[in-house]
């Protein structure tokens, strides 16, 4: 765990007067706390694209990335399952032109295989301070609101209780040929999200949505950190 790395990213953004981190920066903060995130490279101009593709490998995902882009899907700035250099180059051009704002670029990201999408997050309650959220992810987060909260710092029993609490908890088991999610790793992820909240006051909100279960292990695929 590297609290200094995370704090440095946050401080830099705040000095620039920003109220949020980009996806790329957000994941660097998560990674600094030992949370598994997608392999990804931020490419600012087309010159860096080939090297990034070589590093990440096909199939890959490209996303517009800047601190101003909280909701990429709605803005059509995501291309998934890109399988060739040509596809990738076209996607890069389409996205890059629309990305503005500080730290902007195109995020070249591994494509994570997994059908189970979860959400983890953190909000700062005015009375109880940082609270961690866990629930069903992707588009289901807002529609079903099948979520559980706990006040940070979390103990492992708290994290496990959150998993039992959601109505869709069976999704974490071995279902439809998928292996059971590693609840220890998932608990660890939630505990660490809470730690970011208790360590860094300037982090006011965290969304990790989705967290995808891939081969039983959780991985942060998209993330947003808000600052205050």
């Amino acid at each position: 765990m590297n609290k200094q790395t995370a704090a440095k990213i946050v401080d830099r953004a705040r000095q620039q007067g920003r109220s949020a981190l980009s996806e790329y920066e957000s994941k660097q903060v998560l990674a600094a706390y030992g949370i598994p995130v997608t392999r990804e490279i931020l490419v600012e101009d087309s010159g860096g694209l080939d090297a990034a593709i070589g590093e990440i490998g096909f199939p890959l995902v490209m996303k517009g990335c800047s601190a101003d882009l909280a909701h990429k899907t709605e803005k059509n700035l995501i291309r998934v399952d890109l399988r060739s250099r040509e596809e990738a180059a076209r996607a890069f051009e389409e996205i890059r032109g629309q990305v503005t704002g500080a730290g902007g670029g195109v995020l070249v990201q591994e494509m994570v295989a997994g059908r189970r999408e979860l959400v983890a997050g953190m909000t700062r309650d005015p009375q109880f301070g940082p609270c961690v959220m866990f629930g069903l992810g992707g588009i289901f987060t807002e529609i079903l609101e099948d979520i559980a909260f706990r006040k940070a710092p979390l103990e492992k029993t708290d994290a496990l209780a959150m998993m039992r609490e959601i109505k869709g908890h069976r999704i974490l088991g071995a279902v439809r040929g998928m292996e059971a999610a590693d609840t220890d790793m998932l608990a660890d992820l939630l505990i660490r999200v809470g730690q970011i909240g208790t360590d860094i006051d300037a982090v006011t909100e965290i969304d990790i949505n989705p967290v995808i279960i891939c081969d039983g292990r959780p991985k942060a695929v998209d993330a947003l950190i808000a600052l205050g």
Partner: protein
């Protein structure tokens, strides 16, 4: 940060040997004189000093013209003077060496005016110099052991029991004390702390956690002084005693502008629910549910109850019981045919059923037979609690036929004894439902009989509820608490 005062002498606060009432007028009924009469009516045995600048007497009691004139020190002051006069009175009580003062007066922070806020700040300053304050804007303390009572609380019970209450609302505290008395619940301490300028929810919670009289803790909360300290205290106390929380003023959504889904979904209602669950506290949504949960915690042995035997009558018994049980995550497992047959042999035929739920078919089945049935049912090893739905209201018909009052023909006293025997023999608790559809003005005799029945069960330590669904809800809180402890 909440001030932590481990040296507060709660014994002097709840069991004061000497109490001064500041603002007891010889004319008319004010808070001060009302409190004096309430203390006399309930039988407070300590010494009472009355204070009013006009002097005189009240019901033969001397009224001192100032606090300084009181010849001795005293433990507790009850202050009922106008808001502007409170700081001086409080300071005088502190100089006299009082451990605490409950301030009934209003006109402080709750007004939101500069003057009110300034007066409350003065109270806090004086309190910090060495006198604990309950209130202002509160109804005070009720402690059956000492006979200290709230206003209005002249007719509350003097029986000490395991239930403690702290409440930001005075009305809620008094209502709870009265409801509890009606249900056969006895209290250790009830505190209405109003604005909570000094002593408030978190410190009271910690004290109730230590208090040997208290086994079940209830809290009505509107806001807490310090979320972190409250949470830590709650979690700590809930490890050894059930804490039932009614949180007032919950809103679904946060009003802040937020970027993330997490923050938009984490409104105060959601976060409070999470906090209480995390601490393994019991959350209830109204005062009735709180009182019923307290009854279940006070009367049932500390464990979870998953498999019930339900005995009663009426067409919807089976379906109604099964639905209520399922809603609260409990089962009513059918007995095996051998046991069901033995149960049926005891019951009138036709119409009865010895499976589970057990339909006794006839409201006049003798208590002796019901005892035999319950003892048989308890032989099913899965059963960990029995629910007996009484059919006492039917005895109104018997009363009409025999020309006797319903309270004389209804065998509630014998049934209470039989139920107690059953519990002792089987080692499995029995919960009684005093189901009564006859409540109108033409059935006041039935209503009266039901209350006598409730007292008969309460005196034998048998929890009685009005309604099956409400009883199972109360038991589900017991299950959630002891089930939650098992996960720690």
């Amino acid at each position: 940060m909440t001030k932590y005062a481990p040296d507060t002498d709660f014994e002097r606060i709840f069991n004061p040997g000497k109490t001064a009432i500041i603002g007891a007028s010889s004319k008319g009924i004010g808070f001060g004189s009302g409190m004096f009469f309430a203390l006399q009516a309930i039988g407070y045995q300590g010494e009472i000093f009355l204070v009013n600048p006009k002097g005189g007497t009240l019901a033969g009691h001397k009224i001192y013209e100032s606090i300084a004139q009181i010849p001795k020190t005293f433990d507790l002051a009850i202050i009922a003077v106008t808001a502007a006069a409170v700081p001086r009175a409080l300071e005088a009580c502190r100089e006299k060496g009082a451990a605490a003062a409950e301030i009934l007066s209003s006109g402080f922070k709750e007004l939101g005016t500069d003057e009110g806020l300034a007066l409350e700040a003065q109270i806090r300053e004086i309190a910090a110099r060495g006198i604990r304050v309950i209130g202002p804007n509160c109804f005070g303390i009720y402690c059956p052991q000492s006979g200290l009572t709230m206003l209005p609380g002249a007719d509350l019970s003097r029986t000490t029991g395991p239930v403690a209450v702290s409440s930001q609302s005075g009305g809620m505290a008094v209502d709870f004390a009265n409801t509890g008395k009606s249900m056969g619940l006895a209290f250790s301490k009830v505190v209405s702390f109003g604005n909570g300028a000094d002593l408030r929810e978190t410190e009271l919670l910690a004290y109730f956690g230590r208090d040997t009289q208290t086994r079940v803790i209830n809290m009505y909360i509107e806001g807490v002084a310090d979320g972190d300290v409250f949470f830590d205290t709650l979690k700590n106390v809930a490890r050894s005693k059930p804490v039932i929380v009614l949180k007032g003023g919950l809103s679904a959504a946060g009003s802040r502008a937020v970027l993330s889904h997490t923050a938009s979904m984490g409104g105060s209602r959601t976060i409070w629910r999470a906090i209480l669950k995390q601490a393994n506290a019991v959350q209830v949504s109204d005062m009735g549910e709180m009182a019923r949960a307290s009854l279940a915690f006070a009367r049932l042995p500390a464990r979870t109850y998953k498999n019930l035997c339900v005995l009663g009558g009426g067409g919807a018994l089976g379906v109604g019981a099964a639905d209520a049980a399922e809603k609260h995550n409990m089962q009513i497992p059918p007995f095996d045919p051998g046991l069901a047959e033995r149960v049926e042999e005891l019951l009138p035929r036709p119409g009865s059923s010895g499976r589970n739920p057990v339909d006794v078919a006839n409201p006049y089945v003798a208590p002796e037979v019901l005892e035999q049935v319950m003892c048989l049912a308890a032989e099913d090893r899965r059963i960990d609690l029995q629910v007996l739905i009484t059919l006492f209201h039917h005895y109104k018909n018997l009363a009409a036929m025999t020309g006797k009052p319903v309270r004389e023909v209804t065998p509630f006293a014998e049934l209470a004894e039989r139920v107690e025997n059953t519990v002792q023999k089987t080692g499995k608790p029995v919960v009684v439902i005093l189901n009564n559809p006859k409540r109108g003005t033409d059935h006041l005799d039935v209503v009266e009989m039901m209350e006598q029945a409730r007292r008969a069960f309460a005196e034998r330590g048998i929890p009685a509820f009005d309604d099956l669904a409400e009883a199972l809800e109360a038991i589900s809180h017991v299950n959630a608490y002891y089930g939650g402890k098992a996960h720690e």
